[in-house]
Amino acid sequence: MAAEVREAEQIVNVSDSESGQSDFIETEIPGKSNNSLLVASDEFDDISYEELNNGALQAAPMGTINALVKRKVKRQHSIIESDGRQSTVSEDDIANDVENESSEISGDDTQDDNLVLESNLADLSLQESGSLPLEIPSPHLISSTNSETDYVNSIEWKQQKKHIFILSDSGKPIYSRHGSEDKLVTIMGVMQALVSFVADSDKDNLRSIVAGDHRFVFMTRDHLTFVGVTRGKESTQQMLLQLTYMYNQVISVLTLSTLTRIFKSHRNYDLRRTLSGAEKFFDNLLNLMDVEPGLLLSSVRCLPLDSAVRDNISQTIVQYAKVKDLVFALIIAHNQLVAVVRMKKYYLHPMDLHLILNLINASESFKAAESWTPICLPKFDAAGFLQAHVSYLDDECHTCLLLLSVDIEAFYVLSECKAKIQEKLKKYNALAAINNSLRRNSYSIQQCSINDLRHFLYKARSTSQYTSPELEAPYNTKEEQERLFGLYYYLHDRIHTSGRPLKILFHVGPYETLLGWVTPGFELFAVFGPLVTKITAIHAVNKLLRWIKKEEDRLFILSSVTF
């Protein structure tokens, strides 16, 4: 039996109206494209405990990179065959390369791999037991000097709006959003006890507990337990989505193969050692979730740009980064997508893109120089790393170029590509156009000229992109923004509730009126002033859709460019 306690429905004035639907004119869907660059995903609907328990979600994509690398090896061999001058030495070299690569990348274990890995792990454990117990530096350690129990009982800690914990199967603390994990050993032990008690007694899973105004949500995946505790408006499923993002972030740093390998041989392994330095990615991702609706909507926001300029940018990338083994090339500015070019047949998943945005967002070090770093994109291939060439194109470090390849030797080639792309984009004034757009801030709600419409989120489902205006008064304080997000969480949850999904929801609250509308083509969440009637709201969203349609070339990336 699932230990789930549901809070009583509090909101009145909710009319789940099917009748009003005839008033909604489904115009041509704004932002729709049959030629998408991102995976069209409704990640939220896919995430549920049933799926988790069935292992459907567990079947993470593996071997994509391997397939790409294998293709490459074939190609290289054929080059060698045709080129008689190549000695056997270099062939060995390539074979070695492949072996090295597959030791990091391969999902299917060859014997050699296992040997290498085992010896690696043996090294690891030796280091751990041999050397002095290494104090894992934690940014949280500095802030608190209280003893363990004092700390957990401190008002500051208790009053945090949201806690996220990660612990291992054996109850070892790995990460805590607030406070140092070291001080939370006891409380994490309790969590582990709860999870394993339910699991042992009934072959069941602990899902969530509601206690007072706190909601505890649990997720166990691949030897890790993720626990989210919130006082906010997030539903259990929405918390589950957030925990899934945390899980993806762990995979992105380690890869699924490494994670399972570690815990297969060392159940007691302290994962903090391997994750040290990655805490800021978790912190940053959680901060991002509080301000960026794209994570909830499994979609990304594009930087508004003239479609001609955007085409120019994509074509420049295609022209100057036509390099073997380059899977994705993307330009990002302030968490917004400027352009994406992809290899034929391969698509970027919005969840992966959020991890990329998080990587760029969380690390200042990319601003110093060109970087070459491994990153695992769990939706693309959870088993291996892609290599990312990361660089900023302008001196002010607003516009970031990422080139993701499966070839670990590609740095110098990609570095040349980057130089050419940078030169051309400067020449075409594209960088200036990007900077202009950044300076102007997205757009004001007033530009839609709809009375009493305060804010909205619009997601085009086929392209996994969303658009929304700037946050303006009354949502210009942090508290009000949080409240607005709470409203969106509520609306989103009501519409997507797994038991009884709705198409349209009109909700009158004390301070604003909400309208949510979901069709196969889009999702729209609109926030109006409190006195708006249903009829007005319906007319308003129809008008809004027409406006978005008019602006779609600027707000969305509608054409998908491939190498």
């Binding site: 690390s363 060109e370 970087s371 130089a419």
Partner: protein, 221 residues
Amino acid sequence: MSELNMKSLEAKVVVLGSQGVGKTSVVIRYVGGMFSKAVSPTIGASFFTYKLTLEQYRVKLQVWDTAGQERFRSMAPMYYRKANAAMLVYDITSLESFYDIKDWVKELKKNVDTPIVLCLLGNKSDLDSGRKVSKEDAEEYASSIDALFFETSALKNTGIEDAFLQVSKHLIHLYETVPNSGMGSLIAQQAPDMFVPNQGMVLSNRNQDSASPPQTSNCSC
């Protein structure tokens, strides 16, 4: 003897060492001529280039500043492969970071089969009051592995210029004496530089007196 047209040399230098010893600070001090107190931990590895003129050579150093975090440890071979020089950085206030150098040296000896210039750097020499690694110990260790040795401070800008200069000199020496040293245009050179049976390269410590100071031109990408 000296030709009018200069010879040019391109060498790959990898910077290794534990987390937080100041690898990035050393590199940025040398390449960018500045020091920042808030250097963010490196992700993966950062790539810098530096050009200098030395003994009729235009030397272009391709500097790989690697991440010290444990999770990037398994990626290290990717960065030190085909390196012509390795800067091994430790923190003079951390014995641990000094011991870690031994692992790096072991790993390099095992995996790099081309001749490589080693240079041991004891960074943060401005923190002399908290010193845990004596200069003598480090010097002794450096000579036992045939490495150059310098104590440096990225904050005070001491020793760094000198270290890179001496490394460059040794690279030129290597280039002139070992035919297959793997230096040259690195982009063209992809495969045929393996198996140079020269491992016992003796690099004597600072037997060269100071040559003309390098005319350095700055280039960071």
